[in-house]
Symmetry: C4
């Protein structure tokens, strides 16, 4: 009996449709993907298709070697597919990836600057600054695997610092824009909303005090742990 | 005959629903509560529940000792409940408390900066700057009663300066976000809208003149008194 | 036969309702009035009434001596009524007055700064900078006729400079907010929209170049005259 | 048999209606036109008509010598018609022109500053900075052909630098606002959306780093070529 990807496609489609609804999408930029870990297959938005027309059946299935699973589906996957695949391979704990060009977060990415952690809103989602990758080299850009290399600089950032991707579920790709992830793609969408909101408030806090220091470690710990890990007490049990 | 909290829950629910409608809520941050002073019981939003699904029956009743009034209601109250309770205990003249992470006000809170009173819009609501609390100490953050201590630094600010909470119906918790209050929770919602609007205009006025002085005392007096106290003549009698 | 003010009230009500629709109103701030010059009577918004509930019959009729025309109407007129009356008396060429606290224009007013004329959008509506009044003195504020004196500083500005109010159909009251006017109240609403839009763009242009010079006189002349006076050729004949 | 311009008018009308839907229009500023190259006739918005009431039959047909094609149509064309005509004459590869006063792009135009290319969002649409024209001389402004001269400074910019208008499908007219174009008017609308979005992000990136350098040539090349020219692989084949 052939595998049934109906639910996976529905989940990926719904996440893609949530992006413009949350005001995170300019033009057709942005894409979301969800993975079925048991089968090693993820569903991702087709390239350059208008969000208004998107439906679950349009989602493109790709396996972890990068091959299309349903050759009969004639739609090309998002051009950012290799970035998503790189992240799914490197971070086994994640179930979904989201990419947007949301305005405030992208402004930080363009400036090559991390988003400093200035308050509890930020600490509720991230265990520190939202990092920015190094720039890609000319060879990485022009070598024929640009989108895969984009994933590589993300993975490299986490590897070098031995940081857990679920403690820091977002990164800004230098000169480009944010990528977020989570245990599910729905959670990755929520993180994408948080990144944009936090970037907006950080930009304004920096206007008020250009040399503002990050929040105190005790407050960061308290707020992050209120929502994450064994001592969490936020939300319903 | 058991007490009937139907109206209290309706009032609290309506206030919570007004927050996203006024664009004051990012994600699920924010909560509103209304108190029945005769019974010493307040109704507050459950923790981490999506605003879209909120209904009066979901409101959680808490007494002024912090005990749930309806143990059959399985929903946890907002994690910020001890802050609300602290304010209801310290300020007997208030009937409702609202907490948001509205973007511009939170930008000031993150920067640890009061919102200076620059114009008559501000003076119509507040008898001076919108203050910011001191930072919590590590002991206050980590001692097991973080949200109660958040209420304490608010109360401490008013006690030290002998200011009336109804003349200054809002404060920014340092590194965190605004809390507002009023004789009713509906009025506390209106104040939360005013705080965000005033913060936004103050940020722009500061861009135009970083060393802008506050408004003149005569103008502050005139506008505040036009709307508050025995000489008020704004609105309908 | 008694005078029929149905049309005047409808016109004033429509203008008031247009303000929140254009995003110019925060809270209940703002009001619009329309005058019937033949009868020397103007219709204005009642004080502190929610825009959602406003209807033509609520408009309050005031004559140019400041007396209510329909004592049976129990609604108080806007507390800013004396300012409107002052303007109708001083500027016989105007048919309507609008007052808002729109965010960007108010940010300039709070900073006591005129809105410099930086481009053709501005020149299409105003024959130069959008001016700011001097501050009111303590005596003017506290002497019992604050709103009338607010009108006075506006009129004083025009008198001193011998400027025509229709060439400069808006002013910022220092520390307060914008007032606009026009041959009709509908036109005054359009000017209020223009003021906010122009203030927003000016604020951003100033961020890009804090010492930006105003536009060249030839361009100002060209654009203003394209839309105003005998040589106008914009719009339909 | 007389020429049928039904489709051309429909296309031009739809493009005009798309402008307020994308939030690019303030007041009645802005216009779009589409050309029928075979007949040398373009359809453009009538002057000063409210967008709400616009329908295909209102579009005004003008030939490349500037003469009205349907004298029975009593509506005046947009006052910017000579600018559109100048561009259609100089750039034979374009099929549509759009003019807006969108806020962020206009803020750059008012400041006489090009929009620097800071990221991949920008590089997906433009092969470098979005340029700004020189200022018009007093003679060009006052000589009776202001709008035609506006087109001339745009054309002059491209001629001098031997740049292709489809590699740089937008320009800011100094002190005025953006013009965009494309192979179709629908594409010119999309570019107008991109210009505003890119201007907004650039303004914020400049706030974060006032001396931010443009993106690296390899990244610009990669992103522009991903979407344009023979090696493009973005979107569906």
């Amino acid at each position: 009996m052939p595998a049934d990807y109906t639910e996976l496609k529905r989940e990926a489609c719904e996440a893609n449709l949530a992006l413009p609804r949350h005001g995170l999408i300019n033009l057709t930029f942005g894409n979301a993907s969800a993975i079925d870990r048991a089968r090693g297959v993820f569903a991702i938005k087709p390239s350059g298709v208008d969000y208004a027309a998107l439906k679950p059946a349009d989602m493109v299935l790709i396996d972890l070697e990068g091959r299309p699973v349903e050759p009969a589906n004639k739609l090309r996957p998002s051009s950012d597919t290799p970035t998503h695949r790189r992240l799914f391979l490197a971070f086994p704990e994640i179930g979904g990836v989201v990419h947007t060009h949301s305005s405030h977060a992208t402004a930080f990415a363009q400036a090559g600057r991390e988003i400093p952690i200035f308050g509890t809103t930020h600490a509720d989602y991230f265990f520190g600054d939202i990092p920015v990758t190094r720039k890609l080299t000319d060879a990485e850009i022009g070598g024929g695997a640009y989108e895969w290399e984009t994933g590589n600089v993300i993975v490299e950032h986490f590897g070098r610092r031995k940081k857990s991707p679920l403690d820091y579920p977002a990164i800004l790709v230098n000169r480009h824009a944010p990528f977020t992830w989570g245990p599910t793609v729905a959670k990755a969408v929520e993180v994408a909303v948080a990144v944009e909101c936090i970037a907006r408030m950080a930009l304004m806090s920096l206007q008020l005090d250009p040399s503002l220091a990050p929040i105190e470690p005790a407050l960061l710990n308290k707020h992050f742990k209120r929502k994450h890990g064994p001592g969490a007490y936020y939300g319903q049990p």
